[in-house]
């Protein structure tokens, strides 16, 4: 409790002569250290904060222990196979792979969306199935981007399948030959 100075019972208004008047001090405080500390903490929190909270993407894999389900049940006419090689290269073919590989095409992440959209437009929805085949050099980012592309374009049926040796050879050949298209994609699209 704060004590009140009652002045020993002498409750007079008159001030005695000898009492020194308290010097009036400035109410201003030097705020510089306060500001210093404030900004130090701001910088600290800016650096440590995680602004973008990570999200998650659902992935459902088929149960491949059950052998009675044939993964190649998809109608050839409605199938679109998308293959991934190294350096973010994308390859695709529609339906069955031609023995002469004439329908094996090179693409990149920018153009593959149009390929998917076109395929979707020209195929009855119950036949449409996209098959994603990353090879051993494809990155995890490619895989996620491909799955994302399915969500973006509203593809309901898609599968992630191991690449066939024939297809892998084709990719190797294309990579060695400098690509089918004159300008292969240098990098993934800046998303």
């Amino acid at each position: 409790m704060a004590s009140l100075d009652t002045g020993g019972g002498d409750s007079g208004h008159k001030k005695s002569r000898g009492v020194k008047k308290a010097k009036k001090q400035s109410t201003r405080v030097d705020m510089t250290p306060l500001v210093d500390l404030g900004f130090l903490l701001i910088t600290f929190f800016i650096f440590t904060s995680t602004m973008s909270t990570p999200s998650t993407m659902d992935l459902f894999m088929p149960d491949d222990t059950q052998k009675d389900i044939d993964p190649n049940k998809a109608k050839a006419s409605g199938a679109l196979s998308i293959l991934f090689g190294k350096d973010n290269e994308v390859y695709y073919y529609e339906g069955q792979l031609d023995p002469t590989a004439s329908n094996f095409k090179t693409s990149n992440f920018k153009d593959i969306r149009n390929v998917i959209i076109n395929k979707k437009r020209n195929t009855p929805p119950e036949d449409l199935v996209v098959i994603i085949k990353p090879n051993d050099e494809a990155t995890y980012k490619n895989t996620v981007d491909a799955l994302d592309e399915m969500t973006i374009n509203g593809i309901k049926r898609f599968a992630m399948v191991d690449i066939l040796p024939v297809e892998n050879d084709l990719i190797k050949k294309t990579e060695a030959g400098g690509g089918v298209t004159p300008a292969p994609a240098a990098a993934a699209p800046a998303k």
């Binding site: 993407m57 995890y140 980012k141 994302d148």
Partner: protein, 217 residues
């Protein structure tokens, strides 16, 4: 010639508004900050249009870093005893020979990325020193020595029926085969539903999803 006297002004200025703003920003950042959980490795996740939030509890997280090393961790903020149960379980099924203190230490360990043979030496270190421990990753490459399978199997039996989220957090540069072998480890445990950790981004303009989300145009 009378010289013009320039009145000298005080260099002190009123800093109160300045301080006000500074502390306003400060309080914003304090509130908005969610401390990063300590991670054994830096992982840059790919972007996706998915908007689902990451669950903080009852989740198994498998990290794949850019060198293809695999780390296992368990998100159990609510109930750390689950982690203890898991390591106790593993200790008996895999004959790891861990001491009580080492098992207690596992509860505090953020992520494990060592083969079973090195687990004891990792857990004998205090948590602060584990960062410097050279973790080669959990072996997943071939199915015979796929140790991640045992981690998942024992985690499943520890959780015993309650709903678990399976998170896979891969680095942009990690290769597909590593991802596939992680999937295989899950599949052998009859787990087929995963959640891939990604950073959120908006759907690209003009696509079907974009139209759906932004209504009409």
């Amino acid at each position: 010639m009378p010289s013009v006297k320039i009145p000298r002004k005080s260099t002190e200025n009123d800093m109160t508004p300045f301080v006000d703003i500074a502390f306003l920003i400060l309080s914003f950042f304090i509130m908005a900050t969610k401390m990063k959980p300590p991670e054994p490795v830096e992982i840059t996740t790919p972007n996706s249009v998915s908007t689902k939030e990451i669950p903080a509890n009852d989740a198994i997280l498998v990290d794949i870093d850019k060198k293809g090393r695999v780390f296992f961790s368990m998100q159990a903020e609510k109930d750390p005893t689950i982690k203890y149960d898991l390591i106790k379980n593993l200790n008996t099924t895999r004959n790891l020979g861990l001491s009580e203190a080492e098992m207690k230490n596992f509860v505090k360990t953020p992520a494990v990325g060592v083969p079973f043979t090195q687990l004891k030496s990792l857990l004998s270190q205090p948590v602060e020193n584990q960062k410097d421990f050279n973790q080669p990753g959990i072996p997943v490459k071939d199915s015979a020595s796929n140790e991640l399978y045992f981690w998942i199997r024992d985690a499943l039996s520890t959780f015993a029926g309650s709903k678990i989220n399976y998170l896979i957090k891969g680095d942009n540069a990690s290769k597909y085969p590593d991802f596939k072998s992680v999937l295989d480890a899950f599949k052998r445990n009859r787990v087929f539903k995963f959640q891939l950790v990604t950073s959120a981004e908006d759907a690209p303009a003009g696509t079907e999803l974009y139209k759906e989300r932004h209504g009409g145009k």
